[in-house]
Assembly symmetry: D3
Homo-oligomer: 276 residues x 6
């Protein structure tokens, strides 16, 4: 098996609107219109690679610590059978055990993190493991390459300037939507190329990097986001990187309408596959 796609129906780490536990089923259902040949990438991924749906990881919905252990264990096992893994969340908490499994295989890796938010907060209600903290924990645990990691699509209000300082200390560069307005999709692609180079790269896509118009079905929507066309164009460019794994998280179906968020997520995964 070259690529495994696995669902992680977990949302106990969500601070606001829950529901991402039903994300994997929704994204799969929304993928029914996909077809095998990707003309933009000129690749028939399902011919070129063996791509398998590895089903869902059974996670404890009532204990975040146990759930993280469940996910890490299942992810490590999957890495033994598959060259690359694309995970479908679930809330963003799952990125931490996924990165633990990745780092066990690749060492510290470049994370290109598409999100409206930094997700490098420290604690919330005293909890260290929530969907707002995975990248702080990952950096603290030495899982990420601090020279090659970045956030893309960040926007909106923060708690204080310290959020930015901490984020920089943790090894992230920020490419905000304001910079996107300045230098466009092509600029974004260059920025990523510069930052990542040929390091092994993990891509984590929080669906709320898209504008709420394009992805209403999520927990913490933030106005002023990317269009799906912009995001797909950026992802398409990643085939030039050393792309070793990915996740797409925070699809909350009950807030979706006419599957538009699910369809966006399915296309995102399709482009990630094409870029791998």
């Amino acid at each position: 098996m070259n690529v495994a796609i696995v669902g992680i129906p977990f949302d106990a780490g969500a601070s606001y609107r829950p529901g991402a536990r039903f994300g994997p089923a929704h994204v799969r259902q929304s993928s029914r219109l996909l077809r095998p040949y990707n003309p933009a990438a000129d690749v028939s991924s399902f011919e070129k690679y063996q791509v398998a749906d590895a089903g869902d990881i059974a996670v404890n919905p009532f204990d975040i610590g146990e759930a993280l252990a469940d996910i890490e264990r299942a992810s490590r096992e999957l890495h033994e059978r598959a060259e690359r893994v694309i995970s479908i969340g679930g809330d963003h908490t799952i990125a931490l055990p996924l990165l633990r499994a990745m780092a066990a295989k690749h060492g510290p890796i470049s994370v290109v993190h598409f999100d409206a938010h930094l997700d490098t907060w420290n604690t919330y209600f005293g909890a260290r493991y929530t969907h707002g903290t995975p990248f702080r924990r990952a950096s603290e645990e030495g899982l990420i390459d601090r020279e090659g990691s970045m956030h893309v699509g960040v926007r909106g209000p923060l708690y204080s300037t310290k959020d930015l300082e901490d984020d920089a200390d943790l090894g992230f560069e920020i490419f905000s939507t304001i910079e996107l307005d300045d230098i466009g999709v092509k600029g974004a692609i260059e920025k990523i190329a510069e930052r990542v180079g040929d390091r092994p790269m993990y891509v984590s896509v929080d669906i709320d990097v898209l504008d709420p118009a394009h992805a209403p079905g999520t927990g913490t929507p933030e106005a002023g986001g990317l269009t799906s066309r912009e995001l797909l164009a950026i992802l398409r460019s990643l085939r030039q990187r050393n792309f070793v794994g990915a996740d797409v998280v925070e699809v909350s179906p009950v807030y979706d309408h006419a599957e538009i968020t699910g369809i966006a997520a399915a296309h995102i995964i399709y482009e990630l596959l094409g870029a791998m």
Copy 2:
């Protein structure tokens, strides 16, 4: 203060569709059409009693154990200031700390539990404290009067016959919708009167006791339930009991439509107030 109404925005104990964390805000919003005089009970509750909105209890969304402690503590404090408390959930997990606080004041009490489900399961994913277990834990902890407690409106599939045996051992009598079909609302009222007598009575209303047509906005809907008219008639009769406290739980607004679940919950609380 005679009656305090308090919200408990907690749903980390939900096994299926989450979202009851937004229940308190939704029920308050849906109460905007209520007026002061209850002609069915011939009482102007807000004149006769001092009824106060005590706001929401701040609960840890990431740790069920801490959340239960938060709720019990806040509930005990509220009991010092208010003669009676009506709590708005949140998922049904909250009934356990609420009953702990009630029992601290009243000793073991009769629980009249309106629900499609028994909520006396033992564990789920190994977790002892979830929205499927509060009444088993409450019985084990000696919080309920095993001679005067009952479920009303139960229906639908179970895991095994053992569910029924355990439930009886824990001190509950079951009044199912099949019995309701046989003896009607008046029969239900008599059954409750017989079972409860003049014991101190706590009423716990899981909104899913209503049919999904009447309460779509909930986590684990079960076909074949009560109409809102049936439930309101039964609740109206409770003024003849020694009514010491109540909760209304499992309103999940994102699954609601046109506030019909919220309005049902607001009317339920209004009748509970009238019956107190």
Copy 3:
């Protein structure tokens, strides 16, 4: 023309959720599944009578006084061309000008008013003409027969006992849902027969007489209402009365789901036609 059906797209009299201005279009659209033969009444209304859609009355949306005059004028004109008129609201304010036009033709008439609410309030924000006051104004103006009028389906909270006293003084008898629970649909039919006898009868159906489960698409829903089956059975019995006119009001499409409120309203009008 024997029967004219006319829309009145007006909702400036609504105190809470507006939108009934789009009621006529919605009810027409929801009537597309109706067929010509009514087996319950054993009548093919469209063969027996000439039934015409008289379109919508153009009403000023910004001035309630002018709107009432617009409606009364158009309604009087319609009465010259049609033996009977069924009006589709619009909010319940429109009942007043409709009753003015009816009374000009028939003198004071029996009003059988299906509604969750009394609609005999006096003023709101100082305004005398709103959707909460038409039957007080109609009674004050001598438009209704004070010996033969009644409310059916009333329930829920009021402002004070004075609401009930005033309502009785204005000439209405109340048949509440609590009485419906006691004596059922057959009892309701008898009560109406006793009250109305062979007086000329006008039927005004506020769609919120139905339970919110059956009619979410309305402005001031009240839990504990009638099922559509109960209401249709009661309306079906009215053919034994001297039935001279009717309205169906307060359908607010934006709160409807899958046209269930519109379909209920269309079936109500169909039964009214069959009963005429």
Copy 4:
């Protein structure tokens, strides 16, 4: 295999609101809350019988004639492997090929048909095979036992009295909602027992037999229908009959809300299983 459950994602026979092609997936998804023990029937169906999900029948969406042949062929094959089959529609057109397969096995059988409509129309737009005609075609083809078949839950307008005459000629008795109002659920159960006796019985449930409040997610909703509690009680009684097969049709997910129609359908199938 004792019981096979099979989906038939076909809706090209729908005359009004389409979408039942997605019914099977939706009902399966809505069945996730079912548990193994049915206390009302005191049976653990999945222990007692081998119940298998046979997947979906691949049907041509563009040619009704071919689709009927596809369904009949697949159904006959399934009957060779399973003692009993429960089919999930799809629109009601599918009942015809299903009955062809049933009759090939059992000869003419009693059909107990739950539906708001007769479905014994002749043609529509000249087409003989649509969702309004399966029971006329089935009777003409000698598939049904004309002494033991009936419609339950019929209501609403028809084209003419001839609809009723034809229906009787085709061998159906009608139990309407008006009769249900008169003699109740227990009366309905007796009527079915009288009509069916110990003949081999096939049950066809059009979800629109339920009131639109209980089943908004369907193509041709009709006000004044059954509650889910009434329907489940009637189905529960069928275990005393010689129950050989069933279908549940016309669930159209896009018109559903919060899965209430899907959940009703899942519970219906669960009761059918319990009654078999």
Copy 5:
């Protein structure tokens, strides 16, 4: 009559989400906010031209072949009475009979086809006439000018590279969203001008050329599409062409929200009118 607007409530050719049969009614309803003067085009279309709503073409919903014949016949008749016709679908299958009627009048014409998809597939389930095939059939039948036809807005996965080869052989040029990213709306306008020149031009707009954010109410949404502003700007430029007819198809109202798809379609038709 200069321009006739006609509805074609047909969706039996839809392969995935149906419902476009209700498109014409929805688009008409969503056009209620349009006003007579188009400032962008500096034209008052309804003054300058006689624009008539020609109602809906009655189409057989159960037989695609008959439906195509119905549409072609009605369209030819309409062309005798109107100089230009704008058709509102319905699914894209209808483009074939519409082009047959166009070609009968104009000979092979340039088709500018706005769509996420090529719609030049060959067969599906063996069916030659579906919403995925009209432009292949039209080309095979010699209805289109193979030197002047093109697709605009194409994106997303295909079955294989052969799709692209066949499409080119059938006489279409592709302007994808990737090219749009490169050369923008102005580039698109130039490309169309180059390709079409002064040939008689027919414009076929599948609403799914818009991004799902802008047009959720359609059958086969594809992420990464055009904004409504981009599409309206391109259409506005078409007044410089020899514009002889148009259709707007695949609006499926039940998937729409707050009429945003309907409003987009109404504005599209309004710009088409302004450009004619």
Copy 6:
């Protein structure tokens, strides 16, 4: 108090889809995700200023004249307590009394009006005070600076060329979406700077300036609008102006989905605060 935020739950001036009366509650609810530090503006507004929620102004829903007087009076009182006021509508009618209060304090001021529509119509149904007329009335009453006022984001059909002439006479410059396509967000910012200079500036944002994809929850949506990212970028630039007050109007929650319109409005207010 430096800045007061006040809700005005009024929509009796709406000509089409009502519901903006619930706008203030919805926008407040949608603001729950905002955090204190605005990195784009590098300001912690809630630290730098005292920002207070001044609650809602009680307005007569049945009499537009009285409502305007209510709003003006309350607004003047608020100006005595707060340096700046941001009002949340409500429909756009409220801009007139708000500008009366502003002009009483500042004299004629520059109005930068973001809207799909001009809102300088004269009368509708004979009414002079509706949501389509506030800026005509404001200009006639001398409330605006005719040299420094402009509309931004205007698009779509008008009644006639006279609309444009009148608008110019009333002192407005138009920056349409077509010009935005030409010169982009940076061009828009420059145009506003040129027009407004250092005059005291009032900003009125009709949420329908956004594309319906970004703001479905409004009364008169118009295709082809701004993205939320464009609007936020333009608003962010306004800190260089002499910014004295603002309103955000026409959020109609019942047409919203997943709070995307409410969230856009909350972010707009947040940027306005940052720019003040």
